[in-house]
Each structure stands twice: as C-alpha cells, then as structure tokens.
C-alpha cells in the first residue's frame, strides 16, 4: 500500500499526486515510469514519474482522467492509499551535453519532459521548452519549467493561454529563426510526436520520443506494448520507453493505443452512471 501524501486537482481532470514509495524514490531516474493499480479490480496502468524526493521517500505523478481506472484514482484523497505501485520501470533517458536542446511536451506528457528538461539543463545544455495544452485548464508545470529553461513557450489549441496553435507551429518558428538545434525531445499524444518527428526529420535534428503504449506488467513479460522501431519489433517497457523518433512507426502506435477504445468507453460510461 502506497500512501498519498498530497493530491491536487489541476483544471478539470489532471491529478497531481505525491505518493510515498521509498524504494522507487531512491532509484527513479528521468524517463522512467511506474505501473500502478489503484484498487483490487483495477487495471495496471503505466504512469511516468515526474519528480522524486529520496529524502521524503516520495514520487510525484500527474494522472489525467481518461477512463474508469484513472477516474477512480482521481477520487482518492490525501491520506488514502494506492494498492500497488511497481517501479521504476523502463530505461532512464540518455542525457548528455549536446548544445541546444528543445524539449516539447503535450498535455500530461509535460510531466515527463519536465524532469528530463531539468536533467538536460544540469548536463550543461541550452534549453528551449515548448509546452502545448488543449486550453488553459490543462496547463501544468509552467513554473517548474520556467526555472530550468532558458526559453519557454506555451501554446494552447484555443489561445486561452500563451500562443494560439500547436507545439509544431512553435518549433517551426524556432527552426526558421535560424536557431541551431542539436536535439529534440518530444513527449505527448502519438499524433503530436509524429508531426514533430516529421518536421525534425527534414532538418536532420536528432529527436527522441517517449512511447506511451498500453502495458500490462511493464517488465517485458507480456508484449502488449510492442512497437515498431526501425522496422523491428521492440517492447516499450524494457527496450524503451524512449526511442529515436525518426525510426518509430507512429501510425501503428496510434492504432494499438486505440485497441480497447470501445471497451474503455463502455467501462467508463458504466462507472459514471453508477456514481
């Protein structure tokens, strides 16, 4: 059992949770994730680790409500417990000094670009952050990102905050301003990662994406998370979750992510009706 030390709801349905998990807090590195199961009948779902505090023995997760399992987690209060958390899983991000790095986060994807941005900064890079949200009510981690970025840009689809438009518009702007970019990190919805990766491919900018596949165990046992990278099958959980974005088959990633959309909708509707 893992106690919730803090729970803050951001906007309509994003939950920032600080959770007691000393083993994970000690070992976690940027880029890694946990698998959580919040109650007995719950699913195992992968969530990236945003922050950790080894002294406190705690980790911070941002959980967006998208279905029944995540909605149930959202109902938990400070002091409640999450039944199971396993981790840290996946390979840590490979972060080196390369020069200028653009990190791009979409929605809750920012919860993983943030610790990596900080690590890139600590490694001595010049950091340009781009964060994209549907609208202002989904905005997370702006203050934290400000502290670790040399430049920070925010876009919203509806213009309710920052620049109206998409992260890809901002990236194009930066590229055409003549800024020399050495590396791009992009984490968010698959379609966003695909668009970004198509842009950077053209300019031959090394681009890393963190893949958010469906997982069950998260330790390589089941293969639910398989993705195609460079024409080869890889497991996002043990071979990733980060890969060279230019090699990723994003269209397959998107299809596989939607495999249970019908079941997920049914389960979520039933849950909402029963409440």
């Amino acid at each position: 059992m893992y106690q919730i030390l803090e729970h803050k709801t951001i906007g309509q349905n994003i939950h920032k949770m600080v959770i007691k998990a000393p083993l994970i807090a000690r070992e976690a590195k940027p880029g890694q994730f946990v698998v959580i199961r919040s109650y007995e009948n719950g699913e195992r779902i992968p969530i990236t680790i945003c922050e950790k505090d080894p002294q406190m023995g705690s980790i911070t997760l941002y959980i967006q409500e998208v279905g029944k399992s995540t909605a149930k987690i959202g109902l938990l209060k400070k002091g409640d417990h999450i039944l199971d958390i396993a981790g840290p899983l996946g390979n840590p991000a490979e972060i080196k000094k390369v020069g200028t790095v653009v990190t791009i986060g979409g929605g809750v994807g920012c919860a993983i670009t943030y610790p990596e941005t900080r690590a890139y900064k600590e490694a001595g890079n010049y950091l340009i952050g781009i964060m994209g949200f549907r609208n202002v009510s989904f905005k997370i981690l702006e203050d934290e990102m400000k502290k670790v970025c040399d430049e920070l840009y925010i876009t919203t689809d509806d213009g309710s905050y920052g620049q109206k438009g998409f992260v890809s518009d901002k990236l194009k702007e930066i590229i055409s301003s003549g800024e020399k970019i050495d590396e791009v990190l992009v984490i968010g919805p698959a379609i966003m990662m695909k668009v970004i990766s198509d842009i950077t491919r053209e300019y031959k900018i090394k681009t890393i994406a963190s893949l958010n596949s469906i997982m069950v165990d998260g330790t390589g046992m089941c293969g639910a998370c398989r993705v195609e990278v460079g024409g080869k099958t890889k497991f996002a959980c043990v071979d990733g979750p980060e890969f060279d974005a230019h090699e990723v088959n994003f269209s397959l990633l998107m299809k596989r992510a939607s495999m249970y959309s019908e079941e997920e909708r049914l389960s979520y509707e039933k849950f909402k009706n029963e409440r």
Partner: protein, 466 residues
C-alpha cells in the same frame, strides 16, 4: 470385500457446462473415490514412484494414510518434501513422473497419485482440522528469493523450515508467478494458490510484491542490507514472436499477455474488473504446448465459435500433456496440424482478419528428435480469424540480468549454473527453474528450488563456493 482393481476416473464438469465458465474442470475425488483408488496401491518396498517424483514425495506412505483415513497424517507426509501439494496434485505431469514408474502401470493403469495428493490437500483444507505447523528453530539469517513462482515458493518453504528468515520479492502485485498469471483458473483455481502461499506465510516467509529486482533494488543492495544468499527463480518471462509480417496487428497477443489478462487481471469478469480482452469468434492459437492449450481453452470460455490450434507438426509431436490435448479435443477445439503461419493480414483499422498459412509435411528428425516440418511449395491458403494468440515459447527476461553482469548467461540468455544446487557465477547467488533450463514444468521448477534451498543451507553453513 474384494479390492478395487480399476483406476478411478476423475469426475469433471460436463463439457457443455464447462466450456461456458472458468471454473475448475476436474472436480476432485470424493472420499469414497479416494479410498477406492488408494487401496489399489501395492505399497512397494522399493517404491519406484518416489524416484520418479522430482521432489521425492513419500508416495506409498501417504497413500497408506489415505487408506487408513488419516488424511492429516497423509498431508504431513507429503509436506515433508513438498510444500505445495494442492498445486502439484493438479498441474504436475504425473504420467511422465511418479505414475510412469508405478508397478501397476505394467498390467493395468498406474495408481492416480496426483489425484490422491490433491484429495488429501483439499480434504484437510475443507475440514475444520487445524493443520499444526512444524516446529522451526529460527536461525536469524536472512535469505532472499527473487520471484514467487513454483521454484521460488518451494525454495522459500524449505529454507523457512530450516529456520532461515526468508523474504520473497515479486515484481507483480500478487505472489505465485506462472501459477497466478499463466495457468488458468479452470486448471488451477487461484484460491488454491492463495492457500498454499498463506501456508508459506505461516511458516514465517515474508512476501514483498511490486518489487522489480534489477529496477527497484539490485542484488548488491540485497547483500548490503544483510541477505546472506539469494535464489533467483525469475521464470522465463519474455515472449517469443515469429517476426512475421503483420505480427503487431491489433488483436494479436502473446500467450503471456492473453493469459495474464485472463488469469491475473480477470478480464473474463470485465467490466466488473477493469482489464479488457478481445474475446473473438474465430481465435487461432499458434503453438502446440501446454500454454497453447491453456490459451485455446480460455478462448472457448470467452465464447469463441472456432477455437483453433495452429501447429506445424502433427498430433503425435504435440509437446502438450496428453491430458490437456484430450481436454481440448473434448471441448471442441479445432486442431490444424501441419500448417505454419507466413503472414498476418489486417483490416483497414489494423485489426487482424486473416492468417496466411502454408501446409507442411514431416521430413527427417531434427536435433530434438522430432520430425522436422518441411513446407509444401504452393500450398498457401488464408484462414479467417479475429483474435490470434502466439504461444511459441519464451526466452529469458533481461530486466535483472542486464544490470547484473556478474551473472554469466549461456547463448540462449539463460543463467549458467555450475552445480546441481544452482550456484551461479556470482557468489551467494543461486538460480533455478525456467531461467536456467528454459521452459519446463511447475514441478521441475519446484525440484530445482528445493535443491537450491539445500545448497543455500550448505553454503551458509560452510561458506564454500565454487
């Protein structure tokens, strides 16, 4: 009264019923049946059955107790060498082990050792009798067991009986390893596994779930925190795929995923349980082992109209237990022999809709001694499917081994061990079960777990390594 001579059949759920539920197929002997079966035992002096058992259960002695209706004594006798009788009685391939060497088998059918073992364990558990625990002299020496599958459980039980302070670390949220995620409810009810795990806890074994050794904690950490020896019962744990075109289409599962969703996550109770699964009307399971049989029989219970096995050799070469094949046949599984997949074909949304198969014929025996399937040119055809399960085996899971270069591996990625007790190339670390041998049976893993427990005891006492 004349002694019963005929082997007593196992009562099973009616086929019509059982293919619609996930309840256990074999119902178990009644007391009357158990007594009739037990009296067939010749109580041989030189009991060959004991030698046939990987953990050397004192079979004639426990059966004698059954004849005398002393079921608790029978259970204690079994537990002298086997801490998991309710599990072994259900899933051991007795026909290849103890029962194979039964003298009765020469003229008639061998005595049903597994069924009696199960009867004894279930009878005591269902009775009001409180099973007294063996007296244990605590040693105050810590030993870690990584993985709570059959090997880990057996090793932990023996170490606990020897007085060690044992902690099992399990990556998943429930202990049992393949017993909970792999073997279906209809062959091994999960409450049976829970019961056996509870017994281990009563022996003083601690179980830490959600600990991914190699990620949450390393072997070095364990030694530093005072563990004197470690047993690795990691299991195989990385599913093999076929590297065929279309293999990542939607609704194509590894057997591990299909079974884990079903057994560990209880997808058959969706939406009461949150984890979904694609049920499918035309389900093709590729492979011919026990895991393939478990998957294909699960698909029937999900309501498949055509539950199909796709196997590249013939019936004779099926690696699954005969009993499992017969169960599958009786339940209406369709077997496609001598066919091999070439490609998976999907619809516009990316869901699998067909498999391109090629017919095979058997050629010369290969290194495994089985006749090698040879493709027949021009024999390709398409099979309509909506769910595919790939059950062609597993390789070694790399999570722990990648961060532990001290442990040498062989060319298949399995751990190299240097003696019968499972000593690895890292001092203080023993290994056994599938991670050493490649895929094997529950009882073989248990046997190696027990052997390692013996080795660990010896190592802690003497400090002797390789």
């Amino acid at each position: 009264m004349a002694k019963n001579k005929e082997r007593i059949d196992m009562p099973r759920q009616e086929i019509k019923e059982r293919i619609r539920n996930f309840e256990e197929v074999a119902i178990g002997y009644t007391e009357e049946m158990a007594l009739l079966e037990a009296e067939r035992c010749l109580n041989c002096k030189d009991a060959t059955c004991i030698k046939g058992c990987p953990v050397n259960v004192k079979i004639p002695e426990f059966i004698k107790f059954v004849v005398e209706k002393k079921y608790l004594d029978a259970l204690k006798k079994i537990k002298e060498t086997n801490s998991l009788p309710a599990i072994c009685g259900r899933v051991c391939p007795q026909e290849e082990q103890c029962e194979k060497s039964c003298i009765l088998g020469k003229a008639k059918k061998p005595i049903a050792i597994g069924r009696l073992e199960r009867f004894v364990a279930d009878w005591v558990s269902n009775s009001d009798i409180k099973e007294e625990l063996p007296k244990i002299e605590k040693k105050n020496v810590k030993v870690a067991v990584i993985g709570s599958g059959p090997g880990g459980l057996a090793c932990a039980a023996d170490l606990a009986l020897l007085g060690y302070d044992v902690t099992i670390f399990e990556a998943l949220h429930k202990p049992g390893g393949v017993l909970v995620y792999g073997i279906p409810e209809f062959r091994l009810p999960k409450r049976i596994v829970e019961r056996e795990v509870e017994y281990l806890k009563k022996l003083g074994v601690k179980i830490e779930t959600n600990v991914v050794v190699g990620k949450s904690i390393t072997l070095k950490d364990l030694f530093e925190s005072g563990f004197k020896a470690i047993y690795l019962g990691l299991g195989a744990g990385l599913p093999k795929f076929m590297n065929l075109k279309g293999e990542n289409l939607l609704n194509i599962y590894s057997a591990n995923e299909y079974l884990t969703r079903t057994n560990l996550m209880k997808a058959y109770k969706f939406p009461e349980y949150d984890t979904p699964i694609k049920k499918g009307k035309r389900v093709a399971v590729i492979g011919g082992g026990n895991v393939a049989m478990d998957a294909v029989r699960s698909s029937l219970r999900y309501g498949a109209e055509h539950a199909m096995i796709i196997y590249r050799r013939s019936r004779q070469e099926l690696p699954a237990r005969e009993e499992e094949v017969e169960n599958a046949e009786a339940e209406g599984v369709e077997f496609h022999f001598l066919v091999n997949p070439l490609e998976f074909i999907g619809d516009e949304k990316g869901f699998v809709k067909q498999i391109k198969l090629q017919r095979m014929q058997l050629g010369e025996p290969d290194e495994s001694g089985r006749r090698k399937p040879v493709p027949i040119e021009g024999s390709e055809f398409l099979l309509d499917v909506d769910v595919v399960v790939i059950a062609i085996g597993q390789t070694a899971n790399p999570v722990l081994l990648n961060v532990t270069p001290e442990i040498k591996r062989n060319r298949w990625g399995n751990i190299e061990v240097y003696d019968e007790f499972g000593r690895t190339s890292m001092k203080g670390v023993f290994a056994g079960g599938d991670i050493v041998t490649g895929e094997a049976t529950v009882i073989q893993a248990m046997g190696s777990g027990k052997k390692s427990a013996e080795g660990i005891d010896q190592y802690i006492k003497t400090g002797k390594w390789l």
